[in-house]
Every structure is written in C-alpha cells, then in structure tokens.
C-alpha cells in the first residue's frame, strides 16, 4: 500500500504528536512513551493508558509507527512489553506538522500577536 501524503493527516492530534516526538530518538514501549511525554512537558501532559493505546492503534493503521518483533533493550526483563518505532512515513508526517506549526507561529509573529524571537 502506498503511503498517503503526509499533509493529509494534519493537523495531528496532540497525543499523536507527543508520541511521535517520544519515539524520535529511540524505540520505546507504552509506559516509556508515557513517562517521556510527562518528563518533557514537566508533568503537564500525562497520557492515560486508554488515550495512549487508542492513539497507538490509529498510528499503526496509518503507518506512522510500527511494532518491533524483538525488544531493542537487551536489559529488558519483561517479555510481555511491546516496543514501537517511528517509520519513515511517521518521520515525514512529524516534519510536516512541525512545518505547519512553524508557519503558524511565523504568522502570529508577523501580525504582532506575539513578540518576535
């Protein structure tokens, strides 16, 4: 199946974007994603299990992430954990979302709504 245009999935729901960011630097399991998001946002965003796995289900279907067959972490003790990784398409979608948000911020600055950097 050919991937759709990244723009067709924009704007991304906040939870999805957070998950994409969390998976950018390494593959993670669900709990780790949740922790990473919480840490990065200073505890402001806490993904619940339902929201997290509902998003993961959708992202898998959309081809933004994939499930890994083996644990990437040799020290992992729990075999039941499932690990997820960003796909190339997922990276492109994340990039497209960043571009979209950037453009939005630029516009806000241009109009003087917020002070320029």
């Amino acid at each position: 199946m050919k991937d759709p245009k990244p723009e067709s999935l924009l704007p991304l729901p906040p939870a999805v974007f957070h998950i994409l960011i969390a998976l950018a630097d390494r593959d993670r399991h669900g709990y780790s994603i949740m922790q990473d998001v919480a840490t990065r946002t200073g505890g402001a965003v806490k993904l619940s299990a339902g929201t997290l796995y509902s998003s993961i289900r959708r992202m898998l279907e959309q081809g933004l992430i994939e499930e890994l067959r083996d644990s990437p972490d040799p020290s992992s003790t729990d075999e039941r954990r499932r690990y997820y990784a960003l796909t190339k398409f997922g990276r492109r979608v994340a990039a497209a979302e960043v571009t979209r948000l950037n453009a939005l911020v630029q516009q806000a600055r241009k109009t003087g709504l917020v002070p320029g950097a």
Binding site: G30, Y31, A49, L52, Y53, I56, R57, D78
Partner: protein, 905 residues
C-alpha cells in the same frame, strides 16, 4: 493490589473485544506500573487521579473504539454486499417486503385498536355515556334484557344530562353514524357531502382548535344557526385550501349553511376510522335529516341516535359520575313513560347507562377489523420467518464458498467472536437497509389495506401513523430478522477447525456435513411453517366461495333492488298505499321485468324490525320478540322463495281486509312443532297493550335477508298496508328477464309515478351483498397471495439445499455410476434420502396446522377448521413441490460424467 488489578481488568471489558485483545495486556501493565509508582510516592491523590482517568478513558476512548470497529464491520459488510450484488438485492428485497408487510398491518391494527383519537386534547380524560362500539339508531323502546345497557341516547336525554349533571365539566352529543347528502357548494352541481350533526360544545369537549375561522360553541344549541365547520382534508380537497372558504355556502336539501371554520389537519372528530367532510349543528336535524323531529320526545317511541361524550370535573371519579348520570337518566325515563304506565312499560325503566373511557373514540368496526388484521399479522409474521429461513439457507450456501476466507482469517489469529460479530453486522446491515425500504413498502401497503377495508366499511378512514409503536415494531422486526437469518450461518461458518477447512477448500469440496445438516433443518422449518399458511389460504378461499354461493333461500339471479324515498308522502297513508300499489304494477309492466314487489326492510339493507308477539296455542312468555317485515304483493313469488303451504301475500290484502301473515319454516318449527299452523294466529302486542291478530295463510321457505352466517331467524311477514309504520323508505325488488337491462326504465317509472318520490339507491343484489362477503374475499385473496409466496419460498429453499447437497456428493455419485449404478438408481437414492426430511416436516407442520386452524374458526363459513380435504390438498401441493425440488438436482446428479466428476473431486 490484586483487587485493583481485578477492577482494572473489569474496566477493560468496556472496550471492544478486538481492541482489548490487542492492547488490554499492555494497558494493564502500564496501569500496574503507574499504580505502583503512585503508591511508592504515598500520595493518595495520585492514585485517585489514576482511577479517575481510567474511568474517563472508559467514557471517552472506549465509545470511540467501538465506533471504529463498527465502521470497519460496516465497511466490510458493504464490500461483501458489493461483491455479491445478487444475494444482497434478493435479501434486501425479501426483507423489505416481509418487514414492510408486517409493519403495515401492525401499524393499521395498532391504530384501529389502540390509538387515541387524533387531534384531540388529552384524549385519556374523555369519557362517554353511550356504547363506543356501536353505531346506528333505533326508534322504539330499549329492552335491557335483550339489548344490554343503552347504546345510544335520545336528544332529550342528552339535554337532561347536560343541564342537570354536576359531575361533568362539559357534555356534548353527536350523531353516531355519518350521513351522506347530495349537496351543493355555492349552489353549484350536486355532489356527495359526508357529514355529522353535533351539539354545541362538540369541539370544546374534544379540545379541538380551528385551522382558520371559528368552531361551534354552546351558542349553537339555541336558535336555528345555519353554520357548518368543515374538515381540513375536505378544505384541501374541495376548496384547494383557500382561506376565502369562510362564508361560502353548502346546500343540503333545502337548507343553506355558511362555512364558519376549518378544523386542524389530523382531527377526525369523535369516531375513529371515519372522516366527515362537514360538521353541522344538531338543531338542523329536522331540516337536513327529515322526516321527523328527533330533537323532541314523542311518546310512546324514543328516537335513540346519539353518542354522548364529556369530561369529568376535577376530583370526580368515574363511578360517581356514572351513578349521577344514571339517576338523572332514570328520572327522565319515569317522566317519559308517565304515571299511568302499563306493566310492560314499567319494564322499560330497567335501563342504564355505562360510563367508559372514550380515549380511542367510538368505532363500530374496531372489533371486526382488528380481528381480520390479527389473522393477517400472523400470516405475514410466518411469511417473514419463512423468508428468514430462506436467507439463512442462502447465507449457509454462501458461507460454504467463503469458508476458505474465514479459515484464513481464523488461522491468522482473528478471534471467533470477532468474526461472528462481523458476519452478524453484515446481516444487520442488510436487514437495516431492508427495514428502511420497508417503511416505504409499509406506507404503500397501508393505502392498499385501507382501500380494501373501505369495501367492507365504505366510510373507513385511517391515515398512516408514523408513530413510535410503528417505528419500534419495524426496528424490532428488522433486528429480529437479522438475528433469525444471520446468527445460525455465522455460528456455523466459524465453528470448524480452520486447518481442515483449508485442506477441504483446496480440494474443491464445498460445504461440510454440518452445514448440510443445518440447511436441511431449515428446510424442515420452512415446511412446518408453510403448511399452516397453505391450509389457512385454502380454508379462506373455500369460505369466500361458500359465502358467495351460499343458499340464500331466494333466487338472486337478475334481481334488482331500488330504494325509494317516500318524502312527505310517508304521512299520507291512503295516498301512499295507493301509490305503492300502482308503482308495483307499473314496474311489472316494464318490458323485460318478470315480477316486482316491495318491502320495508328489503334485502341485506342492514335494517331490522321486531314486534312483541303472542302465538296462538303457545303459552305466553314475556319479551317474546318476533322479527317481521311488511311486504307488498307477490313478495315470495318474486323473490323465488318457495311457498310450502297456503299462499303468498296478494293484492287483495289491503288495509281493510282480514289481517293475514305468512310465516317462514323457522317460525313454524319454533312455535308449532307438529301442529298445523294454517289458520292459527300471530298476535302483536303494542307497548300500550293494543293487540292485532294476523291469521297465518301461508308457510314459506327460510330465506336469508340480513346475514349470511348463523341460522335463519323465525320471521313473519305481514301485508304492508295492514301494519302502520313510520318508515319513510321502501325497497322495490325487481326480477328482470334474462338479458334485459331495465335500470333506466325503473328510474323513469319511479320518478314518473309521483314527483315527491325519489330513488335513493338502485343496485343489483350482488352489489348489495358485496359488503357482506368483502371481508372474507379480501382475506382469502391475501391468504392466497401469502400462501403462494410461502410455497415459492419453501420450494426455493428446498431446491437450494438439495442441489447443494447433491453438488457436494458429486464424486460419491460419480463413483456409484462408474461402478455400474443406473441413473434411476441414483435418482431414487437421493429422493429416498430426502423423503424422511419432507415427511418429518409435513407431520410436524400438520400438527401445527390442526392446532392453529382453530384460531380461524370464527371466520370460516361452510367448512370446518380441520377440513380433511383442504389439509390433503395442501399436503399434496407441498409434497409435489418437494418432489420436484428433489427430483431436479437428483436428475442432474445422475447425468454426471464419472470421469469429470472424479477429476474435479
């Protein structure tokens, strides 16, 4: 901790199964870690927050996931419908027809039986003092012992109740039957106008509001108001809904009334199933419904013709109201019959009123129509079940073809529950589309049914109610049908071992033994269901035939009935009698007329007439009512009723000659047993004690004159001139010669005889009797349609399952043929194998039929519910169909080329 896990696991059951299977474990792990962390930090708030979010997820995320799965299933369902458009359209069409027919009949039945009066304010609070199930009028005296509580009231009785009763906040009266006039709009051409006379307060009691103009108030009861209120439907139909209708006039007889208002759409008045064009003030009765004044009491007879409706005052119970109404009614009766009452008149005081709810309004047809509709509802219900069994069969056969797909999905890890859910969703989607189309089908069928009912009851009216009960019924039928035809195949398809399935399908085999067995089982069910429908259709057809060919006791061939309105002549006795004699003779002189006579009641005209009688030599019993008719000369000869002894009524039986009568066989048997009635007397006794003795001069055969069912009542016939009557119409019965058309000559003869006479109706006896057999004819026609449909569905089902079975056994049959079996051996083998199934189905069906046919008993005529001939024919037809459906696939199998079949196998 363990308990927390158990609770969380339980919460996970709120998610759809596929999601839970995929992520439940992960969510549980995550929750456990979060919980452990929260407890380590010791902050109670953290744990509470965790639980709150779990519950919030259940309320927000879980429904989203359910919707997601449903969307997937529906997408899958539509894809599979598109892939097999033939099956989908057969399924949708048969479901739409099945559910539509059920919905239409249910909706009509529900409206007729249960629906509150439309357009009426708080119908539950409406009460009535007359009998809601009875429509008509009666002049004379009411006898509680034979007639029960009073059905209708006179106008004076209504006035007494209205003026004296303190328990009602308001009372009103209305004419029980609908009157039809040949009236004119703005003095234009005559046209038919149906209307009803009502008292002032009619619209207030019902709580009706005008669409435009104004409705009657209580003012209309005094003075001589010449106003009319018209119905919304009449306004739209006749006046195109134009607002300038107010002030336009209607001429009814010699009275011109002005339209003052239009009721709102949907309002039909106080009688369910009838829609008047116009409502008129009751004060107009003597002018628009002559002859006679029905507004004032004229002892000794009462004219009872009104329904009385009202609303109770707050805090008054129904029993209090009934007691007070009866007290007033009693006082009225006593003053009516006066102080000098004879012993017989005193009996008339024993009358009472029954107060009952009028939420559903009055209706004379409610009981009959609802019982017909119940029969139909059972029939179409069975039909829908048969159609479902057929669809289940088709799905099973299709399931065989889809087996490989299902097996692959099962072996790839799809859960069985998930697959069943998907397959049931598919059935449900088909059924829902069918159900939506069914609403349209129901609407069309409803119109058809109402048109059929109108043949029985010409004034029947019922609009299609798009109401909650109807929608609930349609939805229930839709879901029920989906489960009925979808569940078994879904269960069956996902049942077996996927490995064996895949092996099987790669070898080209279709279907499993188990599937074959389910299919056969379904065919059995179809046979069980079809037989009662076929038998019922047969019984109803025979009933309709018997009714139309019933022995009437008179010759119906070429008999014409002409109802003549005497107008003002009715009061001028001498002139009237002379005119009737002359008219009869003139009619007989018309070329092509063999004979003519007349009577008060006519034939199948709906009227009846009785007198209190004493029969000579028979000990007197009180309240012996004898039905009678007043007839003209040559009555029995003209109608072809055999005279067993003595003579017919003749021209010589005049007002001043010896009083005579002719009795029928039933009368003779009832009163005279073995004595010879000739020369004995039948004496009528009036309310005032006046006695008139009629000598029996003839005995005639029994003839049916008012009803096709039951025994012919003992009846006696007196010469019209020898018994006075207030009746204003006479029915002439004219026997035409073969091939002669005499209608226009009859019309001319009547109008030429005297300008005051008018011909109010002319019809053949067949036309006159049509309403008496219409109900049965309609039901029989529908029964034949349903029976044929059931037969065809069962045949298709049988054929489908058997050819499926034969196809599956192609290689076995090929081996038999290769080993030397002859084609007819193969055919015999297959037919034999299916005989058991067919016989079992028919035996069970026969039992159901014998048990169920009793429900039809009341509708049958001249045929017993367990009629062996009908049952035998129905069995024969089903056996024949079953044989053909078995034989064709068997023959095909016997022609199999063994080499090809074995290579394919």
């Amino acid at each position: 901790m363990r308990r927390a896990h158990a609770v969380y696991r339980a919460l996970l059951h709120g998610y759809p199964a596929p999601f839970r299977h995929e992520y439940g474990e992960q969510m549980r792990l995550m929750f456990a870690e979060q919980l452990g962390e929260a407890r380590r930090t010791g902050a109670w708030g953290h744990e509470a927050q965790l639980w709150a979010r779990a519950v919030l997820d259940l309320l927000t995320v879980a429904p989203r996931e359910h919707w997601h799965v449903l969307k997937q299933d529906l997408r899958y369902a539509f894809r599979s419908m598109k892939a097999r458009p033939g099956f989908a359209s057969v399924a949708i069409l048969s479901l739409a027809l099945g559910i539509g027919a059920n919905t239409a009949i249910f909706s009509l039945w529900n409206s007729v039986l249960n629906a509150a009066l439309p357009g009426v304010d708080h119908p539950q609070a409406l009460v009535m003092l007359s009998n809601p199930n009875s429509i008509g009028m009666m002049r004379g005296r009411w006898n509680t012992r034979t007639d029960g509580p009073r059905s209708w009231l006179s106008y004076a009785e209504f006035e007494q109740l209205r003026d004296q009763a303190s328990v009602f906040s308001m009372l009103m009266a209305s004419e029980t039957s609908l009157s039809t006039w040949q009236g004119r709009v703005d003095r234009g051409q005559p046209e038919s106008i149906r209307g009803r006379l009502v008292s002032g307060g009619f619209f207030q009691v019902l709580g009706a509001q005008p669409a435009i103009g104004r409705l009657f108030t209580t003012q209309e009861d005094s003075g001589e108001p010449a106003y009319a209120v018209i119905s919304h439907a009449y306004w739209q139909r006749r006046f195109g809904g134009r607002p300038d209708v107010i002030g336009r006039t209607l001429s009814l007889r010699d009275t011109v009334v002005a339209i003052t208002g239009v009721t709102r759409a949907g309002f039909v008045g106080e009688t369910s199933g009838q829609l008047p064009d116009v409502w008129l003030p009751i004060r107009l009765q003597p002018r628009v419904l002559p002859p006679g004044d029905w507004l004032h009491e004229q002892p000794p007879d009462k004219m009872m013709w009104l329904h009385v409706f009202g609303r109770l005052k707050p805090g008054v119970s129904e029993s209090q109201a009934e007691a007070q109404a009866n007290a007033i009614f009693q006082t009225g009766l006593e003053s009516f019959y006066g102080a000098a009452m004879t012993a017989r008149q005193r009996e008339f005081l024993d009358q009472r009123l029954v107060l009952q709810s009028a939420a559903r309004g009055a209706s004379s047809t409610r009981q009959d129509i609802s019982s017909s509709l119940r029969v139909l509802l059972v029939a179409v219900g069975i039909l829908l079940l048969i159609a479902c069994a057929n669809l289940a069969n088709l799905l099973l056969a299709r399931g065989a073809a889809r087996r490989a797909e299902v097996a692959i999905r099962l072996s790839l890890g799809a859960s069985r529950a998930r697959l069943i859910r998907q397959l049931v969703t598919e059935s449900l989607a088909l059924s829902l589309i069918g159900g939506i189309v069914a609403i349209g089908v129901a609407y069309a069928l409803h119109r058809l049914l109402v048109a059929m009912l109108r043949e029985v009851e010409s004034q029947f009216f019922m609009s299609f109610a798009f109401d909650v009960p109807m929608l609930v019924f349609a939805l229930a039928a839709t879901i029920g049908a989906a489960v009925a035809f979808g569940a078994l195949p879904a269960w069956q398809m996902t049942r077996s071992d996927p490995g064996a399935q895949l092996k099987d399908s790669s070898r080209g085999a279709i279907g499993s033994v188990r599937e074959l067995r389910s299919g056969r089982w379904l065919v059995g069910v179809q046979l069980v269901l079809s037989l009662p429908l076929l038998v019922a259709a047969g019984l109803l057809v025979r009933t309709a035939y018997n009714l139309q060919h019933a022995d009437l006791g008179f010759r119906p061939e070429r008999l014409l009935l002409a109802r003549v309105d005497l107008g003002t002549l009715a009061q001028d006795v001498a002139r009237r009698d002379r005119l009737l004699r002359d008219l009869r003779t003139s009619l007989e002189r018309i070329p092509g007329v063999e004979a003519a006579t007349f009577s008060h009641l006519g034939l199948f005209g709906g009227g009846f007439s009785t007198a209190m009688i004493e029969v000579e030599g028979v000990s007197t019993e009180p309240d012996r009512e004898g039905p009678l008719d007043r007839v003209g000369a040559g009555y029995f000869t003209t109608l072809g009723i055999p005279i067993r002894r003595g003579r017919d009524i003749s021209e010589t039986d005049g007002a001043d000659t010896r009083k005579v009568c002719v009795i029928n066989d039933a009368f003779s048997q009832r009163f005279f047993d073995r004595r010879d009635p000739m020369g004995l007397h039948v004496t009528t006794v009036g309310d005032d004690g006046a006695r008139v003795a009629y000598e029996i001069v003839g005995i005639a055969g029994n003839a049916r004159t008012g009803s096709l069912r039951g025994d012919v009542a003992p009846r006696f016939f007196v010469p019209a001139e020898q018994r006075p009557s207030l009746g204003t119409t006479r029915t002439f019965m004219i026997r035409a010669a073969a091939g002669a058309t005499v209608i226009s000559a009859v019309r001319k003869t009547v109008t030429d005889a005297d300008s005051t006479l008018s011909l109010s109706e002319i019809a053949s006896i067949e036309e006159q009797m049509a309403p008496y057999t219409a109900d049965e004819r309609n039901i029989a026609q529908l029964g034949v349609v349903f029976g044929t449909a059931a037969l065809m569905l069962a045949a298709i089902g049988l054929y489908g399952v058997l050819s499926f079975g034969v196809a599956r056994r192609a290689s076995e049959i090929a081996i038999r043929i290769a080993l030397g079996a002859l084609p007819h051996h193969v055919i015999a083998l297959i037919v034999r194998e299916n005989t058991a199934l067919v016989v079992a189905g028919l035996v069970l069906g026969g039992t159901v039929t014998l048990w169920g046919s009793r429900l039809l008993e009341a509708r049958l005529y001249g045929v017993a519910p367990q009629d062996p001939l009908t049952l035998t024919i129905a069995l024969g037809v089903l056996l024949l169909v079953a044989f053909i459906a078995t034989y064709l696939p068997a023959r095909r199998a016997s022609k199999v080329d063994p080499v090809t079949a074995l290579r394919q196998g």
